[in-house]
Amino acid sequence: MSISLCVIVNGNEHHLDVAPHHTLLDALREELGLTGTKRGCEVGDCGACTVLLNGKAVNSCLVLAAETEGAEVVTIEGVAGREGLHPLQEAFIREGAVQCGFCTPGMILSALALLRENPRPSDAEVRQALSGNLCRCTGYAKIVQAVLDASDASLVPGFGRPEGLRPSR
């Protein structure tokens, strides 16, 4: 038996029929084809599946799709604007914070959630906010630097509101 849902993903309303035991991660990747959200450990350890759910960073592997009725979800596909990449994405590229890229979508969403709440984080606050996102390539220093860099841009109006995203409720 499937469950009918209405979810707003990256600003667009979607009507989905999901199996009760499918996660939000399953629905994003398999139903909506949004494969930017990565499937890593499946149990909350790696953060590769991080998305924003009603504005908060969560592990989409530990959320049932059925739990997201009426919710607003932002994935990495919703972060860039029509005019180009988000300042946080630019900073990741500039700093060389992307190697294989598997952790990057999750890192960007965790960082975005941080900068919305705390536009001027310290180095320690960035590390704390990203402690649920594992990276096997970079050694983290460049990722932390990229987020600190972007925190200057985070005071620009509209920073925390990626393209297509409605104002948070």
């Binding site: 038996m1 469950i3 199996a19 009760p20 035991h21 499918h22 996660t23 991660l25 399953d26 398999e30 499937r39 499946e42 149990v43 909350g44 350890d45 953060g47 991080t50 759910l53 908060k56 960073a57 969560v58 592990n59 530990l62 959320v63 049932l64 059925a66 739990e67 965790s110 959630a113 941080l114 704390q128 906010a129 402690s131 649920g132 996102n133």
Partner: protein
Amino acid sequence: MLSKLREFQYLRPRSLDEAEELIQQFGPDARILAGGTDLLVRMKERGLRARVVVDLKAIPGLAGIHAEPDGSLRIGALTTLGDIERSSHIRAHFPLLWQGASCVGSVQVRNRATVGGNLCNASPAADTAPPLLALGGEAILRGERGERRLLLEKFFTGPGRTAMGQEILVGISIPPNGAGSSLYLKHSPRRAMDIAIVSVAVRLDVDSQTGVCGKASIVLGAVAPVPLRARAAEQTLEGQRLTAQRLEDAARAAQEAAQPIGDLRGTAAYRREMVWVLTRRALVEASGAGEGSTFFQG
């Protein structure tokens, strides 16, 4: 590749009555879902079976932090650890709980994990348990025959086991914290994202005029089948002036109370040693005998 979860029926009751009915109806086939950060992991990794998953999140009134006029606090069972961490009231007036909640997992985990789930999961290493026990917290339980209250000290009966029957935890009630000073210390290999090898919550009421300790609470995590109140250690301090020797004696008494097991996180002997180290450090800091009393997680 799709979800590692096996099929189940997902139900979303809109009221406590409805939820309670479902739990009676399905009995052990039903699993209560709060934030899912324990339940879904156990279902994925450890083959825990659920025929029916009863999600409590559509029931109004089960999440929220309520400061009562008398200084006590009521927290809905579905309040997330993230909301506790973001509460300036809890940070200022119940710092012990703030410290426990803030050191769980990651931002992502805390945004889903609920305080009720942390307690009902009944891990001896649950990070909100020692703080809530030390604060004298009570569980508010809702069952077939209405509501009852149970001191959290009596709530845990073994690893993964609680004194709840077919009941729902609706909230936690904490008496006024007064001016006591307190500290929660967690020892884990990684600073973040790791469960405790040993943890300790201490809370001391020290008279600033006389330096005599009134009520003392010392609760240990991860070193017994349940979060453990170290009574003998508390008694070493109550009614006494807190000299370095007393604090040391209390830490030894806590160490003796611990009944740790050895596992891949640490041997029993190591855990016992760490109980002494951590309890002494927490007591020194909380009693003001240390360098200041910043939150320390080591």
